[in-house]
Amino acid sequence: MSARNRELMALVPVALLLTAGFTAVFAQESARIDDASLVYGAYFLAVCLGAHLYLRVRLPNADPYLFPLVALLTAFGLVMIYRIDPDLARDQANWFVLGLALFALTIQFLRDYDVLERYRYTIAVVGLLLLLAPRLPGIGQQVNGAYLGVKIGPLAFQPAEFSKICLVVFLASYLREHREVLIVGARRVLGVTLPPLKHFGPMLVVWGASMFMLVFIRDLGSSLMFFAAFLALLYVATGRFSFVAIGMAMFLVGAWFFASTVPHVHDRVEIWLDPYAHPQGSGYQILQSIFAQADGGLFGKGFGQGLITIPGTDNALLPAAQTDTIYSLIVNELGLFGASGVVMIYLLIAARGFKIALIAADGFSKLLATGLTAVFAIQAFVIIGGVTRVIPLTGVTLPFISYGGSSIVANFVLLALLLLVSDRARREAGAESRLGDFALEGR
């Protein structure tokens, strides 16, 4: 079966799942099965089919599983958000369509994505400016002590979501060019392999920017995500674990410094270490997140059965259920099994993404695919890890599931770039080996 046919087949169960999910929520909400669930399922399938047909024309060789996996997450997210608030789900569905439009545009205009390499410094500057935008007077917005949003007229978005793509593109391009000298020029000092400072300079700028962001926009989650993606790329490009260790040490020193000096960061760490200190105050969100999971058990309470607000009031029992703590709601309603399934989907996406990097022929493609996949996987880790108290809870979105236009649109652009790399890699690999799809899959 050709790659695109496999993609088509994989989309059918996704649409069925969405239909079943809406049916379950309707049944719960109104104690009746509504035709609307079928309408939603058909609408979703139609939109996915449109995207699929577009891929069939533009990227016939691209990885066949990535799009259905992402569609699955989106479908799942739509059902969860619908269950929280139908109005939000309608917004999210619109964002989904807009995301697909940008997805198509990216594929249309970046078919020769090497062009990105030429504008890497421009892209880096755009990325950093995007990050700083929330602090600009007039357009910046502060939420929960962090500056994450930008509002221009009626349009509000979170620039960090787009900034992460810019950063990955810059790093992939820069490392492609300098990886050789970074390896060759390395010196051993006191048993530790140090990178050559001259070529490492731009890296330090990124590290500095990442740390700066931590203070300036107070976005611990995004800075953690960016820096981890940076280390992942550095490791893949140079193969030097010591670089990663040095980078990690620098991050930890920096993080420790800011954790002890910047109140916002300090609080986040304190809450993480001892949420029971202020169960009704600062520790409320993480505690309720954990309690919601405890109540889910193995199989969960079922779609639509979990409590989000305290009955009879508008007070949140699970704060930010549609964004930060949506994973906790999933554990609550679908149990350990459902949540593990979600984690598994992210892992499958990561597996497909890294596979694209493996078969890609040129250095930039390899590093780009690696970086995009890594930043995506790390984002999922940062927020799931946050609500399960693996790391301090910070407000990043759960890709494709959480409510949020910027997140869903930016991640569709990320997916488009991955598929662009994939299409070229598989076309070239296929042409070289003449072994076709089967051998590629088995590799």
């Binding site: 954990i290 059965q305 990561a350």
Partner: protein, 489 residues
């Protein structure tokens, strides 16, 4: 670069495994502890949204029901107890803020419909919201009213009535009672009232000296172990020196050599003290164990709200190897304490030909569609004594009511078997510290030839004897239950 990419993927797998690991920890392994956290109101809030099932008396009288408050997402249910304080014991209460107790607590899973994970998933697929089941009890409203009214007239105390053949609890009354409807407003006040202790179910938690009612256990051990036969005579002088102290009969009456029937009819202390010594510690303890002493009773109430019967030294249960004055244990003195439930079980065993049935308050569970999903299967707890021993004791206990110390328990036209008890409880703080207060008892069953009901009634802090205050309660309750006929479960 491929080797690094593979390693990076392996690292990603490791990171995601940590996520699944933490999720498992919170959602499964640590879940029970998290549900107990004070800051966690989720479980209670959720239960409040479930329509908790009703609790019904044997005749369908509603003892507890859930009333809706609000609507839509703010819909929640509040517990109502239409009969007020009548069933405060043994039903208890269930409220979000105050928690739950007694029957409500023990049967919580059935009442909220948590029967099993499997059915709840099925219900979700069918689009049903979770709804609680009704639990039907064996309690007899008419008899419960009589028991509580009689107790309120006589003093603090308790009544337990069991159907000997199947262990069904028909009456479980404790005075002073409490009104569960008041719990949300005055739980602290009820808890702090240590003198009257209205929240303590005296029927199952009240450890009291059983006095002469325990002679039934001593006699059972003597007969069943072969130490004596009904014809064996023991010389019963007016006083007897045991362990350096004199033990008296009432009015120091000297009975001479007499057999069991005369000894039980007249509750002769010196006779039973000697029997106790002949039976010995080991054997007496063995029979106590068989009757259910020395362990928590096997009734459907939370075990932390049940008391064990046995010989206690400052709260610690003593065994056969501890230094015990067995002669005084044999007549229900020494440090022996028993609950009314335990003594009712003793009466029920003899009534049921030596077999002790597991006492049960519930009889069946009815789901919201009216289907009976669970039904009580009478089960044997133990067989403490042979049928023959039981028959011999039955005969001897009939003498107590017809011509002995328990004549006030007699019911016209019905043969009653029983035993009185009056334990002196001087200098007891909860009785006001006076010197004349007694714990008065009556245990028995009727009709003796085909026992339908076995009852233990006790009144504390009374200056009267078992026959004066406890036997009439037995009579009234037994009459009420016998008039109602056997309950068709």
């Amino acid at each position: 670069m491929n080797a690094q990419i593979v390693k990076l993927f392996a690292f990603t797998v490791a990171l995601f495994s940590v996520l699944v690991g933490f999720t498992s920890y919170w959602s499964v392994f640590d879940a029970e502890a998290l549900k107990e956290e004070d800051a966690n109101k989720r479980v209670l809030l959720e239960q409040q949204q479930i329509k908790r099932g009703r609790i019904l008396a044997a005749d369908g009288t509603v003892i507890a029901r859930s009333a809706p408050k609000g609507s839509g997402d703010s819909l929640r249910y509040v517990r109502r107890y239409p009969e007020g304080s009548l069933y405060g014991h043994p039903i208890g209460y269930s409220f979000v803020q105050q928690g739950d107790s007694e029957f409500e607590q023990f049967h919580n899973d059935e009442l909220v419909g948590n029967d099993s994970e499997f059915t709840s998933i099925l219900d979700e697929l069918r689009g049903h919201t979770q709804e609680g089941n009704d639990v039907v009890t064996n309690l007899d409203p008419a008899a419960q009213v009589v028991a509580l009214e009689d107790l309120e007239a006589a003093g603090f105390g308790a009544v337990v009535a069991i159907e000997p053949k199947n262990g069904r609890i028909r009456v479980l009354a404790s005075n002073p009672p409490f009104d569960p409807n008041r719990v949300p407003y005055e739980l602290t006040k009820l808890n702090e009232n240590e003198l009257e202790a209205p929240l303590v179910n005296r029927a199952t938690q009240g450890q009291r000296p059983p006095g002469s009612t325990f002679k039934v256990v001593t006699a059972a051990a003597g007969l069943d172990s072969g130490t004596i036969t009904p014809e064996t005579t023991i010389d019963a002088p007016g006083t007897l020196e045991v362990q350096g102290q004199e033990l008296h009969n009432d009015f120091d009456e000297d009975f001479g050599p007499i057999a069991l029937d005369t000894a039980l009819t007249n509750s002769v202390n010196t006779w039973f003290a000697q029997l106790g010594e002949q039976v010995g510690e080991d054997t007496l303890f063995e029979y106590m164990d068989r009757f259910g002493f020395n362990t928590k009773p096997a009734i459907d109430l939370p075990s932390d709200q049940l008391s064990t019967s046995g010989i206690f030294e400052e709260g610690d249960l003593l065994g056969p190897n501890d230094p015990i004055d067995i002669a005084r244990v044999a007549i229900g003195q020494e440090r022996l304490l028993a609950t009314p439930l335990q003594m009712a079980e003793v009466a029920a065993t003899i009534a049921n030909g030596g077999k002790l049935m597991k006492p049960q308050i519930w009889s069946r569970v009815v789901d919201p569609d009216g289907r009976v999903t669970k039904r009580l299967d009478p089960s044997e707890y133990s067989q403490p004594i042979s049928e023959e021993t039981a028959a011999e004791l039955n005969t001897a206990m009939q003498g107590v009511v017809s011509e002995g110390t328990g004549t006030n328990a007699a019911i016209p036209g019905v043969t009653v078997a029983g035993k009185t008890g009056t334990a002196e409880t001087p200098y007891n703080d909860s009785c006001g510290g006076g010197t004349d207060e007694n714990q008065a008892w009556f245990i028995g069953f009727a009709p003796a030839e085909d026992p339908q009901i076995a009852i233990a009634a006790t009144v504390e802090c009374t200056t009267q004897f078992g026959n004066d205050v406890a036997a009439p309660i037995f009579r009234d309750v037994a009459e009420t239950i016998l008039a109602g006929g056997p309950e068709l479960g």
